[in-house]
Symmetry: D2
Subunit: 336 residues, 4 copies
């Protein structure tokens, strides 16, 4: 098996320091920011010291004794870690400033995910070692998290037939689109509907997937990515049709993926069957399942990934990255 | 263009006779049966004379002056057309009896869809001429209706690359699974979830699709069909990744599909964009849209089909077939 | 029985003229406007000649050959009837202008519902005769339509105990709140939630209810109105606890209400049981049901009203009013 | 203030013993049983030793290393506490057997809630002291939990006007109706609907409410209880119209209820505004809010209670009762 990422072999984890770290959340009233505030409140070692919101400045942060402040009033150097949950195009700049001010800065937007951004791409299961000394971390997108973890063993193992594209058919709950008031996200529009969007490899996450797949194998595979909007609040399901150079049964895939992720608490390889949204919602995991396909000449594996877009796809993964970067035990405060 | 089905060129329709035909619905309290009762009530020439239900025998049929009877008490020869909406494994036999008793019998189950069943497969847009003298009609499945109408121009035109499978990723509302009390269809289970089922080409509709695609082209294409259960009441969306022997732009596909279906009122080829569930729900149509795919070496076309599983996918199509078989204008009583 | 409204005794309807009337819809892309455009398209005598939208000017009106125009460009005198579906505070003024330009103007906002506005309050089942010569009609609110029709027989009959307030607990689908982009109406907010709003008789519709109840009886009853937001698209259910001066069984109430509405096609008094949203959604009706209450000393009747907020609660009732004002048969084009 | 329950004045709690107690859940695959298994898994001192299911015997209990057993095979004496989540009519008998076998038995059905059943009624905020030595506990119904906690200060304080009934208009998510396969609970039936059921004081919980209200005041108030089925998974909202002997402003009610529940972590009196489902879902609380009512002659207070039917309305409250009966700190393992 070539191109096996180092971190998948033997993840090293530092001993947990019994101390408290301070955390700030910028953009704390969006869905991702709310989730982070909730997770931090249940973390044994992080203490939330600031939460910003331009629209709700001065109001109480639920479950805390804090009030929302304006981002501009914040002294970024006072927190050990700063989570930036601001809109794309704005968030990355705040993360840079926070890192310069001395904090570990984790940007949950797409601003810093390109390899040339200077930030470390925070997908621990594939590239954990880079995170241990990181000061500026780009938290992965929700869709790429499932795609990269779902495909890594096949791509790194050189099993993918490059002459045929991988088809990635994905569906996401509405919180993936943020909490801004837009007509197309009204209950009256989304309910009882289902539709594709950003089709034809036009979605913001496609370059991020391409870059990640390229890091995993010598020749990155072709793929088509089609996201759909689901009438549910949270959760992503990615149904992936993977062309292989030779037949691989679902049972063999379970063994291979299980070996690849043997030490990973946040990747769940199902021994049988396929995950659904419910398998993963509320938990910091990517759940993976496989199926054989009857009566097909061209070797193809069906891989299904499920994750909670707000947890393993955003806030949970950000906290996982913070745990690593600050030297805490990686699983602390993360719902399993 | 080879293998072009005859009926797609010049559909012939008989002059509408101004008369009334009597109709019976067997299994009238399931979702499909209810829909048929409603459609028949708004049809200018059909009169519902009997509706059966084992569980609600003796109760009033909503919107009518009839009461549900037991199927066993029905004289099948008294109706001009008998719609059989009974469970798979039972419905086809009733349809055979109704045809023998002299009625036009339309079976909405999967019992008679195999070519050797002796029934006519009722997909008018592709094989209309066979329906005009039919006495025993197998109404197509909901998923195959969208797949066959969505793919027919490409398959009949010989454009599909047989070395790569077509990937058909489909999602259906819960009424597609019927109205029997099953735990997995409870609101508490379906709501806020999304999952694949019948994967790996194991779904009941796969042989029906294979048979239909085989009738359209010299060499039927490979395909993978993956249905998912959506938390909506009705509607099917089918996202199809079609491997082509040469590049075909979305704009060219719009022209080609529009030409193919130029005389078809119930196939809507969108000039741009993709249909969603809402495009088709409540109407007797299959809506089709196309997308180009950026940065792909292997020529591939994205085709999306949307339909209402209870109308064009079941009751509406059955009524369309009845219109044809009884010599009524094909569009009568069908919501557009 | 005192104070019985005249129109409830013997509704007079003019002979239907076989002619076509032209209609314009101002604000045609909101939920109410969309519904009206759909209903007009299926009406045998109305022809839609203009539909306005500020946000979609120039785009095609679905199901028609028209394009949306800007309201300011419209010659209001060219239509026989003008439906104003614009925002509260703006819509009534447009209706006045349309009436002055010679059209029958029907305002669907709350602007003209006060008795001193100069408009006729368009609730045909209670005050039909006023509508027959009306040029400026205030279409009732969705909640008051169910409340007034549900309570009229008791109030007009002098049965309500004035010393105890009527409790009106109501629930509405989200389309009742309009189609403007507001955070609190996002799918991510509304789904899996349920809450009261506008409580304590603060809702916009309370004065309208009070005025209507006052017209029905010598001494208007006290009442408390509490609306709730339901995670459904459309439909209103109003559960009303009516204090009576003497016991009235549910069976007696069915008879009394049935007599009161004996000639009304759009009020459905259920012989038994209670209506649910589904009873009424998609139809131009208010469905009413009653229940006895066990073990209660104070005579109280439970009255439940269900209606479709966009049809009998808005667009359907507006079309019913237009039918009356223009001399068409009242039921034309209205789904039953 | 007369009739003030003793436990509301000064709840006594025993010092937490640092030890582990074993727990068994009978009926562990229903919604309530699943919730209990999940809560027990996060409790610091309880260890799940058995979980029964007749339908899934032999399968793995999610999140544990146990397998479901059949209830009949269980030695009831081996667990310190036995939670009975079986169907009404069956569950209470199992609880009696478990208590006789030496366990603390908590029955979550309605079987043992009548005062003459011999079981202790487990609503700690009102009658905590009885629970401390209890061996057989009847866990309250979901609706009565909100009603009794919402009304207790008014009833115990003698503020309710007995000549007018309290109107209790309630709405519940579908998990309140259990996980048995019933047609009326299918997604296709519940979605986009809303309806009353068990009206006219016929619901199973009415006697339980009457008994509880009777324990709180010298003369129990009249009331009408009307439950509705909501298209959501979980949560109860109860909108209560409380007739008072004299005016009480919402602000005064906030003070009075806050004083009454000053030491209660699981009753949240909102300083302003009203709770919605979301306020309480996922947490072991009853959230309470109040509103004034404009333009009303008869003094009436609007009280709204929200709770999670599966947590404070069932599994959470059962665990709270177990904490008390076994001498653990009452809040342990309960989500706030």
């Amino acid at each position: 098996m070539n191109n096996l990422p180092h971190s998948a072999v033997a993840p090293t984890r530092r001993v947990q320091a019994v101390r408290t770290a301070s955390a700030a959340v910028l953009g704390a009233t969006g869905y991702t920011g709310q989730e982070l505030v909730g997770l931090l409140g249940r973390h044994p070692h992080f203490q939330l010291v600031a939460a910003t919101s331009e629209s709700e400045t001065g109001q109480r942060v639920p479950g805390t004794s804090l009030k929302y402040s304006a981002a501009g009033e914040l002294d970024l150097g006072t927190a050990d870690v700063v989570f930036c949950c601001l809109p794309h195009g704005e968030s990355g700049e705040w993360a840079r400033r926070a890192a310069q001010a001395g904090a570990v800065a984790i940007d949950l937007s797409s601003d810093l995910r390109a390899a040339d951004s200077g930030a470390v791409y925070g997908l621990p299961e594939l590239w954990r070692s880079e995170l241990e000394a990181a000061r500026l971390i780009a938290n992965p997108g929700c869709y790429p998290t499932g795609v990269l973890l779902g495909l890594a063993p096949a791509v790194a193992g050189g099993l993918v037939d490059r002459t045929r594209p991988i088809m990635i058919d994905a569906a996401s709950g509405v919180t993936g689109a943020g909490r801004s008031a837009k007509r197309e996200l009204l209950f009256g529009e989304v309910s009882e509907d289902y539709k594709a969007y950003g089709v034809g490899n036009q979605h913001r996450h496609v370059p991020e997937m391409r870059q990640g797949l390229g890091r995993l194998g010598a020749t990155p595979p072709q793929f088509v990515f089609t996201p759909h909007l689901l009438p549910v609040r949270r959760g992503i399901l990615e149904t992936m049709y993977v062309p292989l150079t030779q037949m691989l049964s679902a049972a063999a895939a379970v063994r291979m993926w299980s070996d690849f992720y043997v030490n990973e608490p946040f990747v769940e390889v199902q021994p049988a069957g396929l995950p659904s949204l419910r398998t993963a919602v509320g938990r910091n995991v990517v759940a993976l399942g496989f199926s054989d396909i009857a009566d097909l000449e061209s070797p193809t594996l069906l891989v299904v990934a499920a994750l909670d877009n707000l947890i393993k796809g955003a806030a949970g993964q950000a906290l996982q990255n913070a745990n690593i970067a600050l030297g805490f035990e990686e699983r602390l405060g993360l719902p399993l």
